[in-house]
């Protein structure tokens, strides 16, 4: 093939000149513009602290990282729940080590807050907005330190964002527990002074004075309890009483109180009982609840928060009396219990269709077995589950948690749970106050609180108007408080900390295992219909108490205080290990 290329001299010259110019231009064109790119996602530091909205956005990130949400555990080492398939936790088995709990991640939250506090005093926007932001920051710093100190004892107190210039100055030793508690209370007092009484509009959900006062009460109550106060120093209880009373008084004066219907506390958003809350909504902010639901109507995880028989038995009867296994039969354990029982526990055939899957399937959940091959097999209860409602990987206690479950969830939407989580509600403020009152001898106030809590749970006052509380001495009322907290706050993440602060591991070891019920269809009895009334067919089943742990509870007293993980000790030679774990630090100082 041929192309005839007709180029005369002039054209060639033009091409040559234009080319030289072009290439010269290229070579001299030291296009440093090529390297001057802009960061398309950044906000410069100067704009952050001169604009209240942007500064608030920085604070919002702290909320997102720190505000607690709906709890769910596989086995939180307390008597609240049975383990999934006998997979008892290391704490229960007594095999936990200092690496088993690492809460030092709070320090990245503390650093974020310290950066906020260092800059907020120099902020150039409206001072009232700036002090409100500072108050919230101080609250969260107290929250972060409390969550570490209540587990380990004293930790290094870092109150400014450390500079990374000189690495040798960064390693700090642990402060004494008493110093940490003083700092936490100081931060809270400063916060209380700066925070508004309440928020409105888009700011509802932020920490206000009520939440800060309530949290201060929680902190002082914890540190006055036997774990950190083995000598029963009354001044600590007095301080706890003053703080919890101040919280209660403030809440009463600002419209907070017990919400009349216990079962609706989590369904009715932002009701009067809610003091500190994490808000959720579909589709912007949701979480996964699949692990809490029976697997028939769920997916991707299983086995969380399955109530133990110990918890079920702790709920009082409607008349205020306690459950008595000697005189009462497990076949009818669901009769005449208080409101909290029906709101928190799902039992075999309960008419509470708390899951959308039950409503769609026109059925209740039946947890009984057609045939049991082993009450205590490798995975616990083994056999043929009934076919009316199949339930693979069933609960070994035959109970399920119903507290704070999103009723709209189906198998496909288990990631879309949107139930608000009230971290602090009025009932806690009241109970904290009552417990402290009892410890300093104010027996009457302590009892009044118990009556209020029980009245709300629709328990009858009875002839002596004492709602079934027969305790009169300080030690008896203390036990009444322990039991009342157990049922009032079940599955709210409180039980294990309560057992620690009251030093009740001996009680756990005496159980000696968490128990459940094995429900079996009596031979010859027909299977149930999906919507049968358990009240009429309860006698088709036998209930047997079964043990659900892999071995007897062997939780060690060493676990009252946690050990500091090796990964943390490796990075700071000045950090001492707790003395119960082979170190020299005494968390009681």
């Amino acid at each position: 093939m041929h192309f005839k290329i007709l180029l005369n001299y002039k054209m060639k010259k033009k091409i040559f000149i234009s080319f030289t110019v072009l290439s010269a231009g290229l070579l001299l064109f030291s296009c440093s513009k090529v390297l001057d790119k802009a960061n398309l996602t950044a906000v410069s530091p100067s704009s952050v602290w001169s604009n209240a909205d942007i500064a608030n956005a920085y604070l919002n990130n702290i909320y997102a990282n720190m505000m607690p949400g709906n709890t769910a555990t596989h086995d939180n080492a307390s008597d609240e729940e049975v383990p999934y398939q006998r997979q008892s936790s290391a704490w229960i088995q007594g095999t936990a080590t200092f690496d088993s709990w690492n809460n030092f991640g709070q320090y990245s939250n503390i650093r974020t807050i310290n950066i906020l506090l260092a800059n907020i005093d120099k902020a150039t926007f409206d001072p009232s907005a700036a002090s409100a932001i500072k108050g919230q920051g101080l609250f969260w710093r107290a929250w972060a330190y409390y969550s570490m100190v209540k587990g380990y004892g004293g930790v290094p107190l870092i109150l400014e964002p450390q500079s990374a210039e000189d690495l040798t100055t960064l390693a700090l030793p642990r402060n004494k527990t008493s110093e940490c508690i003083t700092q936490i209370i100081k931060d809270l007092d400063d916060a209380i002074a700066l925070l508004p009484d309440s928020w409105s509009g888009n700011d509802v959900g932020r920490i206000d004075k009520a939440a800060a006062l309530a949290f201060k009460g929680r902190v002082l109550l914890f540190f006055a309890s036997p774990l950190f106060n083995p000598s029963n120093d009354q001044t600590k209880w007095q301080a706890a009483y003053d703080a919890t009373l101040a919280a209660k008084t403030f809440c009463d004066a600002h419209g907070k109180g017990l919400y009349p219907e216990y079962s609706k506390i989590w369904d009715d958003e932002l009701n009067k009982e809610v003091i500190m809350v994490r808000r959720f909504n579909y589709p912007q902010a949701t979480y996964f609840q699949g692990g809490l639901l029976p697997l028939n109507w769920s997916k991707d995880d299983v086995g969380y928060d399955r109530p133990s028989l110990e918890l079920v038995n702790a709920f009082p009867m409607r008349d205020g009396s306690a459950w008595n296994p000697a005189t009462m039969s497990y076949d009818t354990l669901f009769r005449h219990r208080d409101d909290r029982f029906y709101a928190d526990i799902y039992y075999n055939g309960s008419p509470n269709q708390y899951i959308a899957g039950m409503v769609q399937g026109n059925t209740y959940l039946w947890t009984y077995f057609d045939n049991i091959t082993n009450l205590y097999g490798n995975t616990g209860l083994e056999g043929a589950h009934n076919q009316v409602t199949t339930d693979p990987l069933w609960s070994n206690s035959s109970f399920y948690r119903t507290k704070a479950i999103d009723h709209t969830l189906t198998q496909g939407t288990v990631y879309n749970a949107a139930v608000d989580w009230p971290e602090i509600r009025y009932a806690e403020v009241l109970m904290n106050y009552g417990e402290a009152a009892n410890e300093i001898g104010k027996t009457d106030e302590a009892l009044q609180v118990l009556y209020q809590i029980r009245a709300r749970a629709n328990i009858l006052p009875g002839a002596s108007n004492n709602y079934g509380i027969t305790a009169t001495s300080q030690s008896d009322i203390r036990i009444a408080y322990q039991n009342e907290r157990f049922v009032e706050f079940c599955f709210e993440g409180k039980r294990f900390d309560d057992l620690r602060r009251w030093r009740l591991f001996g009680y756990l070891r005496s159980l000696p295992q968490r128990h459940g019920l094995a429900i079996l269809l009596k031979p010859g009895q027909p299977d149930v219909n999906p919507l049968d009334d358990i009240n009429t067919i309860w006698n088709r089943f036998t209930s047997t108490v079964i043990e659900t742990d892999v071995k007897d509870i062997a939780i060690q007293d060493q676990y009252y205080f946690y050990g500091i993980p090796k990964a943390v000790l490796d990075r700071n030679a000045k950090l001492q290990q707790n003395k119960d774990w082979g170190g020299t630090f005494d968390p009681l100082q």
């Binding site: 290329i5 990130n61 909320y63 950066i115 960064l170 959900g205 808000r279 912007q284 997916k299 198998q411």
Partner: protein
Amino acid sequence: MDYYNAAYRNPNNQKHSLSISGGSDKVTYYIGGSYFDENGFLPQVWFKKYNLRANVQAKLSKNLTVGINLSDNYGTRNRFNFTYDYGSTDLNNLWGKLLYWNVFSPAYIDGKPVNPGWLGNPVEMMKNGGYWRNQDQHLDALLNLEYKIPGVPGLLVKASYSNNSDNSFIKNFAKKQLLYNFQTSGTNNLIYENKVLSTVLSGDPGTEYIGNEYTKTNSYQLNGQINYDNQFGKHHINALAAYEQYEYQYNYFSMYRYNFPLFPTDQFFAASGNPSDWSTSGNESQDGRLSYIGRLNYDYGGKYLFSSSVRRDGSIKFAPNKRWGWFPSAAAGWVISKENFFQSSKVQNFIDMLKLRLSFGSTGNDAIGGWQWQDQYNISSSTYYMGSPGTTVPRLTYGGIPNPNITWEKSNSYNVGIDMNFLKNFTFTTELWLRHTYDILGPRILVLPVEFGGTMPAVNYGKVDSKGLEIELGYNNNIGRDFSYNIRGNFGLATTKVIEEDVASNAQEVDNPNGKTLNYGKGLKATGIIRTQSDLAKLPSGYTIYGTAPVLGMMNFADVSGPNGSPDGKIDDYDRVVLGNYFGSGGAPISYGLKVNFQYKGFTVDMLFAGLAGFKVSYNDAWGRNFGGGGKIPLYHADSWSESNPNGTTPKLYPWGDGRATYTYTSSFNTYDGSFLRMKYLNLGYNIPAEVMKKAGLKGAQIFVSGTNLFLWSKFKFYDPEIAQFMSYPEMKAFSLGINLQF
């Protein structure tokens, strides 16, 4: 294996190409196109690609050549939509489920997909659960120009401009599948019968959706070059000065609609019209690069060779005053066999060519995330929900401590080599190399205490040395006129040493990477299974293994150290030791291979063997050596200890989470030698003789048959030692057949 068999399809691929080329002394041209079609071994996995290119080079005058090279390719990748594997490149979740899951439930009964419960039916999900389809169009246009400066022989200027654009469009659709509940029977309700009880929609995907994503990237590269090449007597000089400029723009957006009110279909009109069911996002980024290059080559009589070059590169990742790096290199060669003293010596009878070469080079690396030199806050893509009525509020995060001093990571390599051809038929090459990489960019985390609460920015801190030896020996010969053969073997040895790397200030020696190889492995040292009561009695009182008291059948380990540096009667992280210097096939120090080629008349045979040695592999199965929740137990545990089998080779089995399952900890017990030799390919070809061709009007034709990855020899038998993890998509054996025609 029922699920695996139900899903398996025979994979195959085909490739066809056609090209035309020709020209005269003024113009040359090439036009070519190809089509590639591949089907994977799972449903809905396929890939198609069309490729078209054209290249025209025209000599406009004696000194000026211009050319254009255009390439357009369009490919479509399709795969199923599997919730758990979405986005993974080696499908490890799916593969695990196919192999392991739910041994009692068949995938289909009577053609209807079975609902095995919460798990979902993975085979049905692959077939009918939607798809993910990526259509990618890529255009490259390259203009080049070369001008020989008249009057100065050997001097020419070259310029080229290349523009690349890529449009990638993804359509993503997921829908629920209809599953059937069958009657079960048996004492544990695990036997399935062919009786349908009800139907149910699958749990996955949780919410059905249709989505489109579009990524547009545009980049160009501009090169200018002045080249001088001339010969003066025996001296030959080649000098080059070049300039290179590159810019890149990336733009992405996505839009999804969730929920179909009437029925799910892969079109937007069927999706929900409610704004709360819509989700959109997008982002953008830029990049740029600037380089100046100079190179000088000189050789004398083809006997003494010398080459040097220098690069000056600028990167946007660093602050303006730190963004330039100088990277020089130099090389020298001496063809000893051309020397007079060599030619006249006896050695010349054996050695035909002998060349000695030395080189030094430095390169730079800027592979870190951008903007670490700037103090900045970033608006987070997540929000927080609060307010009454509720609303989402924005979040701002601090970008981290900036380091305005970060700059290029540098690597200097030194090389010395010998090339030799001897006894006419032998070729030999050996090379010794040393590389020193310093100013390695990386965050310093461990050096800070945890209480600092943050991380240091990337710092030019690390230093790594590596060195090695390579040998290659080849032989070619022919027997008679028709048979020729060529064999080439190679062997390589390489080792690395970390001189300086981030380490916790109080770390144990086993955790300190400094002074060790780059990929050393650590774990416990296994001392054997506790088989008898007397073995148990020999252990000290209070002995625990990660908190668990020892029982018969447990794997035991050596108590090497404790918090005080001496053995403490407990096995925990303090007792870890270095298990091997090279873990994983990526870090193998020894590599070797053999390439064989035979030719007889029109037949050719090509074989390649390649292997790696000297490294260890840590056996790891689907769930970190644990099992439970419905999966099969791996063959690894076939001979486990039990009261009736006290001489078992593996420890006693325990369910997931049980502290007595000490075989789950990485130790010398589950670490194996991973050395292997693989037959990488075997090609057989036949060149159809010319006489036959002429009759058919063809200029030439070849037929070929080949197989890749045909054999693997290794002591490690559990899985291919070269794959990343137990459940990764496996290495494939492929057989292909093809034909090549010229006309």
